[in-house]
């Protein structure tokens, strides 16, 4: 296309709004805003979670032309857009995309970005910015978003001219989804959104960068060293991290477990990668994990960590953590190796690739006696904690009963999203996951208010699966406005509020470690069902144990979004518990 044709294109310039509007989206020369949308389409993006505002209006004007090709979901707060994009990414495996304006729009998104980086969630956030000539002038809604988000993004970049758009968008998607996934932020000045590109729009997906080379295939010598340790171990113990799900290593992991006979346990974000009824699945790890898995961490002779970062909630006191054991650490991010726990055999690479290459190097084995050691701890935990929780005759319903009730009724097949606190730990303990990629929660950052928008995003990401969110009464009020987003979409997201009128986890700590000095943890809550109904979402409250089963049935049966509020025991504690700073084998049963 020559210059004449470009000039002849139907482009109008409105001097009042300073907006270029391209009338026909198919024409070759585009303005920056259209280039943004065309880039998203080229990346296969189907859904954007966003909120418009002054500095992003040209992009919103462009989306108007592409409504048949790309779905935009209007959230009620930018934080909701961020968590929805995270939930979407976590369930679908695709990159979650957010579109928000400058200043407060961007800063509202900051919590979700911080959440995404610590939980390795792929996300591209496109942020409007004031025009280039206004940068640094404290212009209306100008925030130094680049400066603010540097420590919490995998990469951020400021686009100041339309010509940069396709190249930078391609890099953004490549960086967000490859290697250890994470959030990428693209700050686009308003002039770049408005101005025309100097040449035709061409999109070349990015597949390599000089300054970013994630290693997917591990080195053979590292694998051989790891295999030698595995083959000579008498009491090996495999830890399933989030990396298993991210890399899609569930199937190969099962083959690996079957061949080696090695018992496994999961981190919080690794939950559901191995079904709870698998004979080699021993439970989960860490502060509120299972009894045996924590105690035997300090008795095994080899830990094989797959796609995890030995978070402090998993290790407890590092100086007394598995000192007797050798460590094989399979991890895609080299900066995680030796960060917390010194690895005897580091394997840098993608978890799936590593397990595939490791499988032929390991010898068939069974560790019957070692596996049997877990049983006595499991029996004790079941007798002292699990059964009393599940067969309580207390006046109030217990959280465990609700979660196990839903688990039984959904046969462990649902997608479960948990918010942050006691109900999160209870969900991890009592939902019996039998389907991979079924648990979504804010693990690293512990972001209260995550679950409602994340559950919605998950449902958008995979509408075929049933999505249930367990949310505490405190968490619910942090992002409660997203009920509006859910109502507007009509998607059947099922919400269970476990209401104890307390900030339960903080209260538990105050009870155990601060002599019951309950400092600002009691909530006077609104009528959640009236609020839900105000948003146009049906729901009801369950108070009595005998109504619980029926209440869950009603929630499950609904083909619309539904809120079930369950009034639960007010002062319930989550056990087992490794107190903060204690050693994993000092886990408390009460």
């Amino acid at each position: 296309m020559d210059l004449k044709e470009q000039q002849g294109a139907d482009v109008s310039f409105n001097s009042d709004s300073q907006d270029y509007t391209v009338q026909t989206p198919e024409q070759v020369v585009l303005n920056g805003s259209h280039a943004v949308i065309r880039s998203l389409l080229a990346e296969g993006v189907e859904t954007i979670f966003g909120y418009p505002g002054g500095a992003i209006m040209p992009v919103y004007d462009a989306i108007y032309d592409y409504q048949d090709k790309i779905s935009h979901i209007l959230v009620r707060h930018e934080q909701g857009a961020g968590h929805a994009a995270e939930g979407y990414a976590r369930l679908s495996g695709k990159v979650g995309v957010c579109l928000v304006t400058s200043g407060p729009g961007a800063t509202n998104l900051v919590t979700a970005i911080a959440d995404a980086i610590i939980d390795s969630t792929p996300m591209v956030c496109i942020i409007g910015q004031v025009a280039k000539h206004l940068l640094g002038t404290d212009a209306f809604q100008e925030t130094d978003v680049m400066g603010v988000t540097m420590p919490i993004t995998k990469w951020n970049y400021q686009i100041t001219s339309a010509d940069e758009v396709p190249g930078i968008m391609a890099k953004a998607f490549y960086i967000a989804k490859s290697g250890r996934p994470g959030p990428v932020l693209i700050d686009i000045t308003k002039n770049a959104q408005n101005e025309m590109m100097s040449g035709p729009f061409e999109y070349k997906p990015c597949s390599s960068m000089v300054s970013y080379r994630p290693r997917l295939v591990p080195k053979q010598e590292q694998l051989e060293k790891a295999a030698a340790l595995i083959n000579s171990a008498k009491k090996p113990f495999l830890f399933v991290g989030h990396g298993v799900q991210i890399s899609g290593a569930e199937e190969i992991l099962l083959k690996f477990l079957q061949k080696t006979g090695i018992p496994c346990a999961s981190t919080l974000l690794g939950l559901s990668s191995v079904a709870v009824d698998h004979p080699l699945y021993m439970g989960w790890l860490g502060m509120h994990g299972n009894y045996g898995t924590n105690v035997l961490t300090n008795q095994c002779d080899l830990i094989i960590g797959v796609g995890l970062r030995f978070d402090d909630r998993v290790t407890g006191d590092v100086s007394r953590y598995a000192k007797q054991a050798k460590i094989v650490h399979i991890e895609i991010d080299p900066a995680e190796i030796d960060k917390i726990v010194k690895a005897d055999a580091p394997v840098v690479g993608d978890a799936k690739a590593a397990l595939e290459m490791l499988l032929p190097l390991v010898e068939p084995a069974s560790h019957t006696e070692w596996v049997a050691e877990f049983a006595k701890y499991a029996e004790m935990e079941d007798r002292l904690i699990t059964q009393p929780e599940l067969s309580a005759n207390s006046e109030k319903i217990k959280m465990a009963e609700v979660i196990r009730g839903l688990s039984d009724k959904t046969e462990g097949q649902a997608v479960v999203v948990a918010d942050v606190g006691q109900h999160q730990m209870m969900t991890a303990r009592y939902y019996q996951f039998k389907h991979p990629n079924s648990f979504i929660t804010s693990g690293g950052l512990g972001t209260m208010g995550y679950a409602l928008p994340a559950a919605f995003g998950a449902k958008v990401g995979d509408p075929e699966r049933d999505v249930y969110a367990f949310i505490g009464d405190g968490c619910f009020q942090m992002t409660i406005q997203e009920l509006g987003t859910i109502a507007q979409s009509g998607l059947p997201v099922k919400i269970i509020i476990l209401n104890n009128n307390f900030l339960g986890m903080v209260r538990q700590w105050q009870q155990l470690f601060h002599e019951k000095r309950y400092s600002f943890v009691e909530l006077q809550n609104p009528d959640f069902i009236t609020i839900a109904k105000g948003f146009g979402i049906d729901g009801h409250t369950c108070v009595k144990r005998e109504d619980l089963s029926q209440s869950l049935d009603k929630l499950i049966a609904s083909d619309k979004p539904y809120v079930l509020e369950v009034l639960v025991e007010k002062e319930e504690n989550v056990f087992p518990m490794v107190p903060s700073g204690a050693c994993v084998s000092d886990i408390r049963l009460q």
Binding site: M150, K154, S211, R213, P334, V348
Partner: protein, 186 residues
């Protein structure tokens, strides 16, 4: 009283970071230090022999080598960083440049240029009406030796450049990319 050399707190490490030349990258790198409460003793940045590739020379002091290795890996992780090396003093050739503005007002003690040149290997690079500027290149020790010598003449201004360093390895930048010395498991 002689000027003390900046106090040493642990081992000195020279961290050389090779990067693309983009806006804000200095910030992205330095926040990795501040987040870990590691103080930067000196920092210099300039373009290398390869166009578009910048070289940061960052000097820190730290008591625990493992922590410095962790820091190096975090810098390495930054997109737009090409490669990173951490060196002990004995592994690099390093120097600094210092400039001294010395008063030459009438009545001041006359400068002994021969001593300045021959003993201290320092050079007068600018003669003003009532001051001179002397340039001294060398190690911190050499610079502070000269500092103590010249101080009685009246120092109006004193500035040090911070360390620049090249490794004692005979490799070129091309050899270093893509392999990094400390990335033994990459």
């Amino acid at each position: 009283m002689s000027k003390p050399i900046p106090s040493s707190n642990g081992t000195t490490y020279t961290i050389c970071v090779f990067t693309e030349n983009t806006i804000g990258l200095l910030n992205k790198i330095t926040i990795l230090f501040s987040r870990r409460r590691i103080n930067i003793e000196s920092l210099t940045v300039s373009e290398t022999e390869r166009k578009g590739v910048s070289r940061f020379t960052i000097v820190i002091q730290h008591e625990i080598r493992e922590e410095v290795e962790k820091l190096v890996r975090q810098i390495r992780k930054t997109i737009e960083v090409l490669t990173v090396f951490g060196y002990l003093n004995e592994e690099v050739i390093y120097n600094e440049i210092a400039m001294f503005k010395i008063s030459t007002l009438s009545g001041a003690k006359p400068l002994d240029i021969e001593v300045i040149n021959k003993i201290y290997k320092a050079w007068v690079v600018f003669w003003g009406l009532d001051y001179v500027v002397i340039e001294k290149t060398g190690s911190i020790n050499e610079i502070f030796d000269f500092f103590n010598y010249i101080k009685p003449y009246g120092i109006l201004e004193f500035v040090r450049s911070g360390r620049v360093a090249v490794s004692k390895s005979s490799k070129s930048l091309t050899d270093y990319l893509p392999e990094a010395e400390w990335e033994y498991y990459l």
